[in-house]
Symmetry: C2
Subunit: 305 residues, 2 copies
Amino acid sequence: MSLLTIGTVAFDALETPYGKTDKIIGGSCTYIALSAAFFLPQVNVVAVVGDDFPQEYMDSLISKGINLDGLQIKKGEKSFFWAGKYHNNMNSRDTLVTDLNVLADFKPMIPNSYQDCEFLMLGNLTPQVQIEAIQGLKNRPKLVVMDTMNFWMDIALDDLKAVLKRVDVLTINDEEARQLSGEYSLVKAARVIRAMGPQTLIIKKGEHGALLFGSEGQTFFCPALPLEDVFDPTGAGDTFAGGFIGYLASTGRTDFEAMKTGIVYGSALASYCVEQFGTTKLASITPEDVDARLAQFRLLMTEKA
Amino acid sequence: MSLLTIGTVAFDALETPYGKTDKIIGGSCTYIALSAAFFLPQVNVVAVVGDDFPQEYMDSLISKGINLDGLQIKKGEKSFFWAGKYHNNMNSRDTLVTDLNVLADFKPMIPNSYQDCEFLMLGNLTPQVQIEAIQGLKNRPKLVVMDTMNFWMDIALDDLKAVLKRVDVLTINDEEARQLSGEYSLVKAARVIRAMGPQTLIIKKGEHGALLFGSEGQTFFCPALPLEDVFDPTGAGDTFAGGFIGYLASTGRTDFEAMKTGIVYGSALASYCVEQFGTTKLASITPEDVDARLAQFRLLMTEKA
């Protein structure tokens, strides 16, 4: 089934203990689409860039099966730019630059050819834009997954809560779950957040794995793969979400059992993502690599063969 | 097969955000033995207390199948006492009091009736005493598991390394693994630590689960059960170790597959331990409770039913 994702397509400049990059391709939508494209012949993107965004970057996405019909290119404007520096343990980072540029007045335009998409992934963006994306679809998709971050909890909580009422699955990290719910226990946090709207909650814990909370008390945990080195964590959460919804869209399923496998796929893709800067690794691996890593995850998780 | 454990039997005074206790029964050996006793008709203890240690505490251990023939009672001396206060997130704590008392000159005495024990659990203690325990056994046990902590890395690293050369399995937490190895990546840390002696390394990550590293690159991850509340984390690591070695001793197995199940049992018991103060919960649950929680763990971990 077809997948639509909305989010940012942007420039990132990254610095980690392993080195630094100039402006490279980044953005939530980029990672989501690259990851989901492992499961689908086409991933439909809604996003905005300036005319400084290189054609070669767009060509590289198109070559992966990513449909850019919904990518607005704003003449005379600049693309969103984020620069960040990770600390030694990779668990914290400083934002050095956030230039919203084209994002400042982004109005999502959904091409007619996207209207029958049955899976919708709302990448991290202003909650107001996420709502407009939902409203821009004539039919409610079969599954709406939303990612967000603490920044929107700080400055746009009411808007965020309005989106939450309209989505099926929310993905956030553990600190964000605690902030949003006011509960330290993740079990209690999940109960509070699920009462805000999403039937299903995924709490991402980075190097500590991910928790899936479904309706009827169902809970599933997927570990992160212990890695030799985490080179650059940028985009890992988006890659995870892209693999999750990409797998579901490829099967057409939205049940808890399918979501469990979706989370393992998402984790497998995220584990590749962090092994090189930006999208480098994600853009270079094959479906066979993804299957090989899935097998590694299953070995790691399986008590009884 | 029979199990011998050495460690502390002591008084603890605990303070958590949920309340505080007067002096209650504690100590690494107490938790290990209570946990292992779920799997074995008898758990043999080597430890030392003062004559201030109440008979009723000893009777309660004996009633659980814990053999105290190896418990020295020092006349006119006081038992080891530790007081600690946990911070709000339970992940850090302050030590308020450490009165070594009888521990200061503890010489482990191994009763003849323990000499044929095939499983040995060295609870957290001075590395020198851990070595003496190994030396006190005429035959090398089939499996020696050792727990330790950062304190000994700080003040007795050479002794600690000497014990490491003689054990099969080491259990430490993630920060301790990083300190001992000098490596941040747990994969690299495991390689360095396994080269120090233990074939198998278990890295305990508290609320984030536990990692098992075997020879030949085998790796297994067991999550922690997401809990409504963590009431008191004291003894969770010892309870985990006791469940792990208790299960192995009950099967007589020391292979990686058995260790995986041992870790799930250990995690199940630890998840009970933290639900009430001290040993309260551990002393009140039944083998049926343990099996019920094991089933919860398997549900949490199992991608495909």
